[in-house]
Amino acid sequence: MDLKTLTYIIVGATFAMYFGIAIWAKASSTAEFYAAGRGVHPIANGMATAADWMSAASFISMAGLIAFTGYGGSVFLMGWTGGYVLLAMLLAPYLRKFGRFTVPEFIGDRYYSQTARIVAVICLIVASITYVIGQMKGVGVAFSRFMETSFEVGLFSGMAIVFVYAVLGGMKGITYTQIAQYIVLIFAYTVPAIFISLQLTGNPIPQLGLGSTMAGDSIYLLDKLDQIVTELGFKEYTTSKLGGTLNMFLYTLSLMIGTAGLPHVIIRFFTVPKVKDARSSAGWALVFIAILYTTAPAVGAMARLNLINTIQTGPIGEPTANLVAEERPLWMKRWEETGLLGFEDKNGDGRIQFYNDEDPAFQAKAEAWGWKGNEMTKVDRDIMVLANPEIASLPNWVIALVAAGGLAAALSTAAGLLLAIASAISHDLLKGVFKPDISETGELLASRIAMAGAIVVAGYLGLNPPGFAAQVVALAFGLAASSIFPALMMGIFSKRVNNVGAILGMLSGLGVTLIYIFWFKGWFFIPGTEMAPNDAAHWFLGISPEAFGSVGAAVNFAVAMLVSRVTAAPPDRIQHLVEDIRIPRGAGVASAH
């Protein structure tokens, strides 16, 4: 069967499954719409959280990012997993005990302030909307690449599917589809990885293959990779840093506290029955995430090695040791059509040279061989995962599976984000601020309308992405790290932090982070308004804008503590509230609220 038919069958089957689940898991109350009736088993919630969390970026981009940054890519691996430790120990159980539906609701109640709640709603909506644009784009790209439809058709199909199960089922529908999507995406990620690890090292477990010797050779895979990349003038794979040590430290920290502070992840822990389930569920979530995250570095390293070996077929410097352009494999031609891969025969020798021409010492050596610059003019890092099965000549069904996996990753994250946005609008703004006397049926209807509206807005932005779509990571994590995480943590661990302190803390943390990001990326990301070039030489202490969220968080903590110290302590009822959320007893009562 040809690839296109197979892709339609596999993707079609997964979509039929999501529809079936949507009809089965219809929400009939606000508790079901916002929190799946608080009846989700901790392991099931862990799986749903993993799908919720692992986006198109984790599935498609991360391994490629690691392939080209080597050791430096570790910031993403540690940053996007270590946040779950913070979530499990500092936030999830207490917020579950508090027993409400949204993150801004906790901030509003704990800091007895509608202003605080509205600040939190704004942070939530901005972070989630920027994040969801990327998912919608991912859906469109996956469709158009694998199913040969136009980008628009792909995007509309994705919107229609999310519409059915998110509007109908709310958190309940989303939870059960996310579980199915997790299974699809993890299968799609690990199967090609196992094949490739087996081919290269003879070991079927990628995590072990990465530390093994090459098949039929006594040299370790990582040593071989280090050797070949340095011989081609690139930085050594296993030691190349991302900026300096300080930058890597703060980058990792920003991603960790940003992860713990992202509302669409936090609300998943409102769906489990008990406080102790919230703790273990975070552990299960990380187990399911770790399966992908420990495979990704193997995929990255092996894809890099495969790519280089395809082009550099013999000893470096020998005239016949480079791939003849006319004889390049089919997958290269196929990916050239998408514009994600490109080469240019600069020295006109009919062969392809792929090396680092930005290293002057190596460039001098290369010129002696008649090389006139790196001829792989475009290698988009996303193709490392998408083209991986083709590079390794795996069967067509594996390639079709990767398409279904990428779609599952994008759709599951989009749905989680949309729910966070919809509940902030219907529960925090409408019921919380504008119309407190709204009936349950009225609120349920409002939340469905808000969800539908959010899908339309996300779809529109996916079709007409604002210039800043690519900056989403810096913005979403910066916002969550500098505003939401500190406010939540202090709300639980300090009885002294009051309304004024929390509001000023959030605003100053947010302000510092945004100014720093805008300084190097342009005010509101408008091109040409940058105040300084976005490179390490101009960054403050070499800290990249993506890594600055942790500095913003530190500012937030400091301002909130200082201001609270010189203003009135929170009222007694708030101090009792804090004491109450610190112990699990009584959660059953709270959830009936």
Partner: protein
Amino acid sequence: MNDAEKAQAYWKANLRLLTICLVIWFIVSYLFGILLVDALNTIQIGGYKLGFWFAQQGSIYVFVALIFFYAARMNRYDREFGVEEE
């Protein structure tokens, strides 16, 4: 102990446990994976340099173990201090 004292003792025990867990969390990622990575890379485990292994594999395994350890300990504390859910 009355209920308020129990709750306070429970919170203290929780904070102590939290501190231990977060120190380990810090050591495996920030210390082994970033600050001491060059020194640890002189040690080789199979094909992995040790610092590189902590940064791309080991820290994640320890994170998972830490959460389950914390959850199990807290379940015990919940019972010992009489604050478990009904």
